[in-house]
């Protein structure tokens, strides 16, 4: 009797044992540094709330936070506008075509972050093919493309669109085709079909995709720094500057903590409405 219960107990321990390496890794490389950052934000250069006061009231910081949110919002919107039709195309295509589109869409996942970013620099640069194309059609004074809000937004949309597409596609694929047929037989077409039936049914996918893209975009660092305009900084870039150039570890940490809190708030609101577990499909 006791032997049996011992055995089941041991069995129940197994999953936890398997998780240990990951848990140790997370504690050493994530939890501990995070606590360190939190502590620094209050203690560097000395024990005060001054870092937070500046982070929340300083005009520059406020401007950068607002810009970060606006950029993330705009990128999310672009991802949605690009991703929704593509996801729809995938859901109505044959299995093979859908997989092909998925492969093309996720191609950017298989190339390194930096390579992708530099590829954009080449494409959009002053001697790049796009400028050449402008000149070829007779626009002699092409607009500045690289190091603008345009170039960083474009690159971020490119990187983040797959998250949006996969979230929406996974919901679209599960929609019973009979629902669409019913709607058509009842008199719905085009716009009204989309508005009254298809959009509401795919809303969970849209919500998932948007939250995921928005939250990831809030913390984007490399892309805006390398491709964006220096005047349109995002918060991660600003934190980087604080640490690299001014060695202001306290200030940088405080900004990081504020960003973290904002992100947590968004995820909490989302969780209340939809459940975080749904975020990953």
């Amino acid at each position: 009797m006791t032997g049996l219960s011992n055995m089941t107990e041991r069995k129940n321990l197994w999953p936890w044992l398997l998780l240990t390496p990951l848990a140790v890794f997370l504690v050493v490389f994530f939890v501990v540094p995070l606590i360190d950052v939190a502590v620094m934000s209050f203690t560097e250069p000395r024990l005060t709330f001054a870092n937070y006061e500046r982070a929340l009231t300083g005009t520059l910081y406020q401007k950068v936070f607002i810009n970060t949110f606006l950029t993330a919002g705009f990128v999310t919107l672009c991802c949605l506008l690009v991703g929704y039709p593509l996801a729809y195309l995938m859901s109505v295509s044959s299995q093979r075509t859908a997989m092909l589109i998925l492969l093309l869409v996720t191609m950017s996942f298989w190339t390194s972050f930096l390579v992708r970013t530099y590829a954009w620099m080449v494409l959009l640069g002053t001697n790049g093919p796009l400028v050449w194309l402008f000149q070829a059609v007779g626009i002699t004074n092409p607009p500045q493309l690289l190091f603008t809000r345009f170039s960083s937004t474009l690159a971020m949309v490119h990187i983040l669109a797959p998250y949006m597409i996969m979230n929406i596609y996974s919901v679209m694929r599960k929609i019973d085709p009979v629902l669409v047929r019913s709607a058509e037989s009842l008199g719905a077409r085009g716009g009204s079909l989309l508005r009254h039936v298809y959009l509401p049914l795919t809303a969970p996918g849209i919500a998932n995709g948007c939250v995921l893209v928005f939250v990831i975009c809030l913390g984007f660092y490399v892309t805006p720094v390398l491709l964006g305009s220096p005047r349109e900084q995002m918060i991660a870039g600003l934190i980087g500057t604080q640490l690299d150039e001014f060695l202001a570890f306290g200030m940088g940490s405080a900004l990081a903590m504020v960003l973290l809190v904002f992100t947590m708030v968004i995820l909490t609101i989302y969780h209340r409405h939809f459940g975080l577990d749904k975020l990953w499909g």
């Binding site: 019913s182 058509e184 037989s185 008199g187 719905a188 077409r189």
Partner: protein, 353 residues
């Protein structure tokens, strides 16, 4: 006066012929059932009428107007699918309001109309519920109300009762029939269940392998099947291979039974191979031959009891025969017993095909 006309419809998927020369006319208000085994082309025909599939050749007309070139949303045809197709994000009343909404009926008036329709299908006070809060039978009723609320020119039902259990099924059969009569809507009902087809239809269209095998009223289909397939598909029957020996004396010779006299028909030719059908309830079981009837010796093999009646299955020579007896009579018979079966020539129906 025909209202719905299917004219020479063919449908191929690549090499595969799904429908082969389907022709059919239905009168206004008629309840027509498509009956046939799975894969015989019933759904395909329905989808061509509804406009979701395109016929390879042939045309569909309603009230003399060809439907060719009209998209599904332009056809004004109500459909109930097997798994209902209710919108999960809308309440029952909103679901029923939907087709009116698509026809630009104002929300207040439309919802009122939807509630009236729900009342007609026996779902008063259920309008605020979402589909997942309704039972299978209730969802079925909502789907029916939704397909009828916009006064469609035609109602199509594709195996709508397939997912329900037996009692609910019978209840819904009566219910659908009642609503269909009340509204007088021309209806095509698809099923592979012959009792369902028999109990509900004005006329039954029997499908087999993409062709229409026979079109007839339920009782005609039962008593005067034109093909061996129909005779075997509808109800229990004894089908006996025979060769016509004398069309004037109306006799055919069959293995193990010898010369068998059949009911009057104009279809028999001398020397022709035919099928003779005798329904089990048209035969009698007795210990000894009965005078004035045609008798044969049968060895009883199995007795299937249904309570009020029983089916006695046995062998005449190598020929399997089925006889239906009343439940009370079954006590006199035992398995492996020899007994007598008998019939009159009236009960022997000749099928030429």
């Amino acid at each position: 006066m025909s209202y719905l006309d299917l004219k020479g419809i063919n449908k191929s998927y690549g090499q595969f012929v799904a429908l082969n020369d389907v022709n059919l006319s239905a009168a206004k208000g008629e309840f027509v059932t498509f009956l046939g085994p799975s894969g015989s082309g019933k759904t395909t025909t329905l989808m061509i009428i509804a406009g979701f599939e395109k016929a390879t050749t042939g045309s569909v007309e309603i009230d003399g107007r060809p439907l060719q070139g009209l998209a599904p949303h332009e056809r004004n045809i109500g459909i109930v699918f097997q798994n209902y197709g209710l919108f999960p994000h809308k309440t029952a009343a909103e679901n029923v309001y939907f087709p009116l909404q698509m026809r630009s009926v104002k929300r207040a008036a439309g919802l009122k109309r939807a509630e009236e329709m729900l009342e007609l299908v026996g779902l008063r006070d259920f309008g605020h519920r979402y589909p997942k809060e309704l039972s299978g039978g209730q969802q079925q009723r909502v789907a029916l109300a939704r397909a009828l609320v916009f006064e469609p020119s035609l109602l199509l039902l594709d195996e709508p009762l397939g997912a329900l259990d037996k009692n609910l099924r019978e209840q819904m059969q009566i219910e659908i029939k009642r609503i269909q009569r009340a509204l007088g809507v021309t209806t095509i009902f698809v099923t592979h269940d012959q009792t369902e087809a028999m109990s509900m239809s004005d006329r039954i269209v029997v499908f087999e392998g993409g062709r229409i095998n026979q079109v007839a009223a339920p009782l005609d289909l039962y008593h005067k099947p034109e093909t061996r397939f129909v005779a075997g598909f509808i109800g229990e029957s004894n089908l006996i291979e025979a060769v016509v020996t004398d069309p004037v004396a109306r006799t055919a010779s069959a293995a193990h039974l010898g010369e068998v006299e059949y009911a009057p028909t104009d279809k028999a030719k001398k020397g022709q191979g035919v099928t003779l059908m005798i329904r089990p309830e048209h035969m009698r079981l007795s210990r000894n031959p009965i005078e004035g009837r045609r008798n044969a010796q049968m060895k009883v093999e199995t007795i299937v009891n249904y309570g009020d009646n029983a089916l006695v299955i046995g062998k005449v020579g190598d020929l399997t025969m089925r006889v239906r007896v009343l439940g009370a009579d079954v006590v006199i018979i035992k398995e492996n017993q020899d007994c007598c079966i008998s019939w009159t020539p009236d009960a022997v129906y000749l099928i030429a095909k």
